[in-house]
């Protein structure tokens, strides 16, 4: 199985995001960067699938040379090689999907795994755009029934199940009010939800090995893709702060407030 997985560079989800006073963006100073956590889940799932069925995991990222850090991280987890689309200007989800379409046409993977969203833009679009552009099936919000404490998880069993004839995959999707199971003919696009798996840590030998794994460099021009964004961010602002509340001493005081002040009970 050849699996293409995305590895977007995003701000560390634990970092405090502040908007610049002029609303033109966020304050970059002091921020740490990581692979998008949902993409990391995708890398893990890809590695589990090839551990079971043989094959290759190729990671792809779009951005300046700094995104090589995230590609190396995925390589250190065990991915086999990387594709770097070198692009420093702004790009939106349509542009990313168009670039990925070209990378897919070049690499011909059986499966593309992406995070369901990246934790910076929170758009949740690229996987679906890509599936539509390629005319492939899609299974978004891939999840599983078992918990993170299950035997299946401990044994790193992939949650995406390849059919006996290797022509399709079964995916459990996390949707409103339950779990939906779909079967996608390969090649297909899958996007990951939170509880698909717990990604592994990169081992020291893994980190050493990653240094010599190949990263192929491409550009939007080489892929003949115009990435002029169709989304303009006019202004960013901090969400309105909630007015500081009060501490109540005991339950009767709480109920009194809820009943007479907030009037919600």
């Amino acid at each position: 199985m050849k699996i293409l997985v995305t590895a977007k560079r995003v701000e560390d989800p634990e970092s405090k995001i502040k908007v610049k006073p002029d609303g033109s963006g966020i304050v970059q100073e002091g921020l740490k960067y990581k692979i998008n956590p949902f993409d990391e889940i995708g890398v893990e799932e890809g590695l589990r699938l090839v551990a079971k069925h043989q094959g290759e995991v190729v990671v792809v990222s779009v951005g300046g040379k700094e995104v090589q850090e995230q590609l190396r991280h995925a390589l250190a987890m065990g991915a086999h090689r990387a594709v770097w689309v070198n692009h420093t200007g702004p790009v939106d989800q349509l542009g990313i999907a168009a670039l990925l379409q070209k990378v897919v046409e070049k690499e011909q993977p059986d499966l593309v795994i992406l995070g369901k969203q990246s934790i910076d833009d929170d758009q949740n679009q690229v996987g679906q755009y890509l599936a539509e552009f390629l005319g492939w099936g899609q299974a978004t919000f891939a999840s599983k029934v078992e918990s993170m404490e299950s035997e299946q998880e401990k044994n790193k069993v992939p949650a995406i199940v390849l059919s006996a004839d290797k022509k399709s995959v079964q995916v459990i999707r996390e949707v409103d009010n339950g779990l939906a199971t779909v079967e996608c003919q390969l090649p297909a696009v899958v996007t990951t939800d939170l509880r698909l798996n717990q990604p592994r840590y990169a081992s020291l030998p893994g980190i050493m090995k990653a240094k010599s794994k190949p990263i192929e460099e491409l550009t939007p021009a080489k892929l003949s893709v115009d990435v002029t964004p169709a989304i303009q961010v006019l202004k960013m602002s901090a969400p309105p702060a909630r007015k500081a509340g009060i501490k109540v001493a005991d339950v009767p005081a709480l109920v009194e407030k809820l009943h007479n002040e907030a009037k919600v009970v």
Partner: protein, 321 residues
Amino acid sequence: MPIVLIVAEQQPDGNLRKATLNAISAGKQLAEKAGGELHIALVGKDPAKVADELKGYGAKAVHLGAAAELEHYLAETYAPAIAALAQELKADYIGMASTAQGKDLLPRVAGRLRAAMATDVMAINGSGADLSFTRPMWAGNVFADVKLTTPVKVLTLRATEFPAAAGGQGAAEVKTFSPKVEASKTKFVDFKEVKSARPELTEARVVVSGGRGTKGDFKEIEGLADDLGAAVGASRAVCDAGWVPNDLQVGQTGKVVAPSLYIAAGISGAIQHLAGMKSSKTIVAINKDPEAPIFQVADYGMVADLFKVLPELRAELAKLK
């Protein structure tokens, strides 16, 4: 005249998903600001089931596309049907509630129409052709005002930010059409519904949520929720541990809720959890740790053990009745 097309959603039981009503009122607002008209679309096996309900929300027309092939929702079969209708109507804006289905389907529709898209729209700004949309980024730590520059613009609408549309606003014309049906490379296998007698999280007036502090014991949380007719929610840690079903997760990556009353018990208040509940009208936090970030958004905080507080709270609330 600009055309706003709102896509309605049926639940597996055929009833309208309530978030559709919020999307309709957002669509109405959008149509007013754009100086256009509102249309509603629904495709599926039996969209006629909710035709009477849909026509009362003040739309110009309700478009129903029935096909046996659309029995089970799949983005691949629904997207061509919606995109073809949107093209026929020359829709300028296509919107749908930010439900799991909305988030799965609309980007595929947008892809078909090469349209830019804004996810989780919270407000519609401007007027005429100069419209922009407020949406959250970085787990709700940033609100961005964005403009879409493609001819067709696609939006998912965050239900908690728009009121539910009220019925009885005259009768829209109901039109039926034959949806474009394309073969799908994806098959529906099954749907395991998490059945609950409690109201749905995103629709409840009161939500009682438990976090790591419950150590997995949700008895008191559920008891209080039932006393209040509330929905039960949970933090990510609790869902990750498998203590409660995944779809109870409140947060940026789970459900976004905005009830009149949100009670957080044993929840520390990670950024991504706060992003999912801080629009609630009144927030109560119960936590042993006085430094827990949840207290920064709580109207009423109690530094105490939830296992002691919740039974007392239930007894005290019972006295009000």
